[in-house]
Amino acid sequence: MSALDPNLKPPSGHLVATDATPCSCGHRHDHAHAQPGAPPIPAGTLISARGVAMKRGDREVLSNVDLDVLPGEIVTLIGPNGAGKTTLVRLLLGIEAPSQGTIVKPASTRIGYVPQRFDVDSTIPMTVGSFLALGAAAKQREIKSALEETGASRTLDQQLSKLSGGETQRVLIARALLRRPNLLILDEPASGVDFSGEADLYDLIDRLRAKHRLGVLLISHDLHVVMARSDRVICLNGHVCCSGKPEDVSQHESYARIFGPLAATKLGVYRHHHDHRHDLTGEAKPLGGASLPDREA
């Protein structure tokens, strides 16, 4: 159905260049860095990244990131603070261009974006209604039904800067829906929302996904409810550490090493194996040991 051939390959010129570059992670991987072997873009993808890297000054914020979001699936991007999650989202949204690699976005993909921080400056007067009208050419009736759908009808005439965290998220989701997206990208939607509100919020996202057959890319650093509902979880820490299906709580041994033992005691995680952990600086360390014995190995 897509106007563009979904199997299209990213321009090869972008990809080959990294081949000779040594891995910047400085540790052993269970995944390959070699670019020419980058996985093919799956049919019907809503958005894909291949070999994406981003430098800020001398610092490599992201390196060799591959990612796909398919229709109807929830992909959760997790990683500690400073892992490059928001940078990756900015690249996917086209706000910035990657310093290496490609973002593939078929012409049929329409993104609804829910940003992480939305502390509306109180110097700007804005009702929820006029805020929603600003993002898309929407009729008053459509605005009302979008707010109903996200459970925020009561806020229609309220000032944006006076909303609670949960209300703000619902309003932002309503605004994204008005753009009739097939891909919803939410950056830390649960930040500023209390625990029970968080569960409700994920319920909402799940419902919308089913109803509109949305692909969903969720960014999170906290893992409570996210994991249970995700079809796929990608663990990011500058590079893709691991990715896979969410799994039993009992399988989280290695996962705890990134996010700390506390997180692991209450959370369900997925089965995959790490061959490294990250210390406070994000530096890769082997499991159990204090430092890597041989980085070049």
Partner: protein, 267 residues
């Protein structure tokens, strides 16, 4: 009020009125984007423009507009770099332009050039040519603002969201800086370099508590500015205080009342 006021009073009134209306929506955007320091720098670059205009015997309004546009371009470049924090760079440029402007005017100063009139403005010295500048320029600026309004509001609300939704963040910003430079250059004559930003910012600050949407804030800011002009000119005529400071005093009084009233109802 024994008879009709003198023509110079009418010219002052219409000049200030026209500027008040044009400056209001720009002042709102300046407040939202927290760029009053930027405006200060532009207006002081205008002072440098006066000096250069005098030296080169070019039309002064034109020279001021050009100087402000050059300063706006420099500021746009400053915003794109990250080696020097923007606030520090502005602080430097702000004071450098003011000092250089005053120095340059003192050097080229000929007969009939009064530094004070540039620093504080002289609303009662407005000429017919000035009025033509204000009203033709004003219509052009307002037309451009209508065109830029939605992108500017969206970028002020959340730049990443607006950009992700397909708004090019650079173009509206650069055009706005240009419009701001023009308005400041013209308003400088009336309220002076030192007070020109008050003319833009204070009405917007006064209008904020009374507004529920950005558009209403712009309209109310214009209303506040008009009221401030009337009260200020009346104050100036009846007390011999210069026109520019009088208008700013009136505007600040209105803003203080508005903010006080807002903080009371919020309680």
């Amino acid at each position: 009020m024994q008879s009709w006021p003198d023509p110079f009073v009418w010219r002052a009134f219409f000049a200030a009125l026209g500027l008040a209306i044009v400056a209001a929506p720009l002042g709102c955007v300046v407040v939202w984007r927290r760029m009053s320091y930027v405006g200060e720098t532009l207006s002081q670059a205008g002072l440098l423009g006066v000096a250069l205009g005098l030296a080169a015997s070019v039309d002064l309004t034109l020279a001021v507009i050009l100087a402000a546009i050059v300063a706006a371009a420099v500021l746009t470049l400053l915003q794109r770099q990250s080696t020097v924090p923007l606030d520090s760079a502005l602080g430097l440029m702000h004071h450098a332009t003011l000092a250089l402007g005053i120095a340059a005017i003192s050097l080229v100063k000929g007969p009939g050039i009064d530094l004070m009139s540039y620093l504080f403005g002289d609303v009662f010295a407005v000429t017919r040519t000035d009025l033509v500048w204000i009203y033709t320029g004003g219509v052009a600026v307002l037309a451009a603002m209508v065109f830029l309004w939605k992108p500017l509001v969206r970028l002020s609300l959340h730049e990443d969201l607006a950009t992700a939704e397909g708004i090019n963040p650079r173009l509206p910003r650069a055009l706005f800086d240009l419009l701001l430079a023009v308005v400041i250059a013209v308003a400088m004559k009336i309220v002076g370099v030192l007070l020109v930003m008050a003319f833009l910012v204070v009405p917007a600050v006064a209008a904020r508590p009374l507004s529920t949407t950005p558009e209403r804030m712009a309209v109310l800011a214009a209303a506040v500015a008009i009221l401030g002009v009337i009260l200020g000119l009346w104050l100036s005529l009846s007390t011999d205080v210069p026109g520019g400071p009088s208008i700013v005093i009136a505007l600040c009084t209105i803003a203080a009342i508005s903010l006080l009233a807002a903080s009371r109802t919020a309680r």
